[in-house]
């Protein structure tokens, strides 16, 4: 037990002049400081911010033009057989460090592949985060209610999740995609979220079932706290690690789900595009024009990895017992 620890910390000296009001480090402050010390999370955050910034500023969004002159849907003449002009390794071919006209190359009808990849990144990011946030929210609330209250509400919610788990995602998406295919990627994301919150709901329910029996919950009730207060102020912060890890995994998985659906033609449709759609569209070109596969692939990996790193950092940051600073 490290009794002397905080008493010896600098800045916590016992100045007798100090007031009786103290500035407590709230959970938010604590989480923030330990998150920003987490190296992996910082790298992940940096990479994600970089991807987001480049994707949204380069080709613009909501009609706002970006700094990249080319549009993702307009065709052009093929330059150099559509090969990428990006050159980051100056000593290999002697061209020096250069971006060129089409850094990621062009596809077979001459569209700029950088612009396409950026548009794909925008759509995939949006879909992934909408799914991640919405399904986490639904799953957490459903799991918390069924875990805390038990009884009838638990039976109803859990049987409903069982039902959802038996419905194949692809078939529902196919039906929805055929009927409402023009509603765009946001609608697709909402539909997917409504179907995949169930696994988190089960996790959260499990957490709450064990937390419910903890003495501090009993103590909170003995102090006159209401059920809502107990759920959100006392139990949820204890389950936050599980929820965040699951949310980051969901975000990473959502990118792949969207890719699979787009591949089958139920997801994002041309002329709009997404990273998954790009990969599946050009999968046959892998041996002849591999850049059409590599660039969107790299972006998927970077997004999924950085989200996972951030989630890792958040989980550590939310646990006050975790005192070790990740080097």
């Amino acid at each position: 037990m490290s009794l002397a620890n905080s008493a010896m910390e600098p800045g916590l000296s016992n100045d007798p002049e100090r007031e009786f009001t103290i500035e407590a480090r709230t959970q938010v402050q604590m989480v923030r400081s330990s998150f920003f010390r987490h190296r992996g999370a910082m790298i992940g955050l940096g990479a994600l911010v970089f991807v987001v910034v480049i994707a949204y500023t380069s080709i613009g969004f909501w009609g706002i033009p970006g700094w990249w002159g080319l549009d993702f849907s307009s065709t052009g003449t093929l330059v150099n057989e559509g090969k990428p002009t990006l050159d980051l390794i100056p000593w290999l071919d002697g061209d020096g460090l250069s971006i060129g006209a089409h850094p990621f190359g062009q596809d077979n009808i001459g569209r700029d592949y950088f612009a396409l990849t950026m548009r794909g990144t925008q759509v995939s990011l949006m879909v992934a985060f909408v799914i991640g946030i919405l399904s986490t929210f639904i799953g957490t609330v459903a799991g918390a209610i069924s875990g805390y209250y038990g009884g009838k509400s638990e039976a109803v919610i859990m049987r409903f999740t069982d039902l959802l788990l038996t419905i194949p995602l692809l078939i529902v998406a196919a039906v929805v995609g055929n009927g409402f295919g023009d509603s765009g990627p946001f609608f697709l994301a909402v539909v997917i979220s409504l179907l995949i919150w169930t696994s988190l709901a089960r996790l959260v329910r499990g957490e709450f079932l064990s937390l419910r029996e903890k003495e501090f919950v009993e103590a909170a009730r003995a102090m006159g706290a209401s059920s809502t207060r107990i759920i959100f102020r006392h139990m949820l912060p204890n389950a936050i690690g599980t929820i965040i890890v699951s949310a980051t995994l969901t975000i990473a998985a959502a990118i792949l789900i969207e890719a699979a659906l787009s591949y089958l033609g139920y997801g994002v449709r041309a002329p709009d595009t997404s990273l998954g759609l790009l990969i599946s569209t050009y999968q046959t070109a892998f041996s002849t024009r591999p850049w059409l596969f590599w660039y969107p692939g790299i972006f998927i990996v970077v997004i999924a990895l950085s989200v996972n790193f951030i989630g890792d950092g958040l989980r550590d940051a939310f646990d006050p017992r975790q005192t070790r600073v990740r080097a």
């Binding site: 009786f20 103290i22 501090f216 009730r221 646990d319």
Partner: protein, 340 residues
């Protein structure tokens, strides 16, 4: 000191199980006066904790509670959930057995105390934190301002229990229920914690229901004692009477089982046998299988808690006169223990 603030009468708590109804508390009656310390003593499973949990509304929904619990004339068992929440924490506070698990690991100690205060007072966070620090200071936590910023896992067991006491008194309750507050603690810390509890109880003018199986703790701080056995109150008396003039063989047996300092190396003197199962209680006195004074009547008729020769002293035993007549009632069990 004489106003009754809590009166529990004929409280019965049953839990349905697959093997049948387990009646953990079978008609317990007691009253609590202002600023009084009432000790409820008994073995594990005697129903002492369950009766306290019933009072705090902490029992699972399946529990069947009957009888009456009146707080200042208000029936607790029929209270609206809202009114019940108001009372809990504000008028009746509880200190739990294990301070390791009764604090939320993700909040600082100061935050938790402030939270307890803000559950009943509409104040700014800062004000509540100031109050929290004041309480931590009052229960003897050094450098309370700094310690309020620590997490529970950074506290030692004794400090955590002090913090729990601080949390219990932060709303100046009338009644503090202390459910074995020292059981999880080091012997050297126990005395300090009890001392703190008595000090702060006086500072907020609260009464205490002290649930314990430690007769030493009772002697040190209680005014009155209720001894429980198999879900019933079997003896109720002033604290001095319990020690010097017990009228129930069970109480005498408990007293006799305390290791004496002057008999180092001697044998311990437990009460033979174990408490009965609460599912199918045999007829008659539940203590009869272990009682050295058992008669035929004991095996058929369960005794009521009735007045004895001493004032304010009630006992549930058919043969209390025999216990009263014995020169040293604790010896009643000795002979039996030697034989066994």
């Amino acid at each position: 000191m004489d106003t009754e603030i809590l009166s529990v009468s004929d409280l019965t708590v049953g839990f349905p199980t697959e093997d049948g109804l387990v009646t953990a508390v079978r008609g317990v009656t007691y009253t609590l006066k202002e600023r009084e310390v009432l000790a409820i003593v008994g073995e594990s499973g005697s129903g002492k904790s369950v009766s306290a949990m019933a009072l705090m509304g902490l029992l699972p929904k399946t529990a069947r509670i009957t009888g009456s619990i009146q707080y200042r004339g208000e029936e607790v068992l029929e209270m609206s959930p809202k009114r019940y929440r108001e009372i809990r924490g504000q008028n009746i506070a509880m200190i739990f057995q294990d301070p390791m698990t009764s604090m939320n690991p993700v909040y600082t100690v100061g935050d938790q105390l402030a939270e307890a205060y803000r559950s009943h007072h509409r104040v700014e966070r800062k004000v509540a934190l100031g109050k929290a620090v004041e309480m931590l200071d009052r229960v003897g936590i050094p450098q309370a301002k700094d310690r309020a910023r620590s997490y529970p896992h950074e506290f030692s067991g004794g400090m955590r229990q002090r913090a729990m006491i601080a949390m219990a008194i932060i709303n100046s309750p009338d009644i503090i229920i202390a459910d074995e507050p020292t059981t999880a603690l080091d012997v050297t810390v126990q005395a300090q914690i009890l001392e703190t509890l008595i000090e702060v109880k006086d500072s907020v003018d609260a009464a205490v229901i002290l649930i314990t199986h430690d007769l030493g703790v009772v002697a040190g701080m209680a005014h009155r004692v209720l001894v429980m056995y198999a879900g019933r109150g079997v003896e109720r008396a002033e604290v001095s009477d319990i020690y010097t003039r017990p009228r129930m063989p069970y109480t005498a047996g408990l007293l006799g089982s305390i290791p004496a300092l002057d008999s180092a190396g001697g044998r311990l003197h437990p009460i033979g046998g174990a408490p009965p199962s609460l599912i199918r209680l045999p007829p008659g006195c539940p203590f009869s299988p272990r009682c050295p004074l058992v008669t035929e009547r004991c095996q058929t008729e369960e005794p009521e808690l009735l007045a004895t020769d001493l004032p304010h002293h009630e006992v549930a035993c058919h043969n209390w006169q025999q216990v009263a007549a014995a020169a040293d009632p604790t010896l009643l069990f000795r002979t039996e223990a030697v034989e066994a």
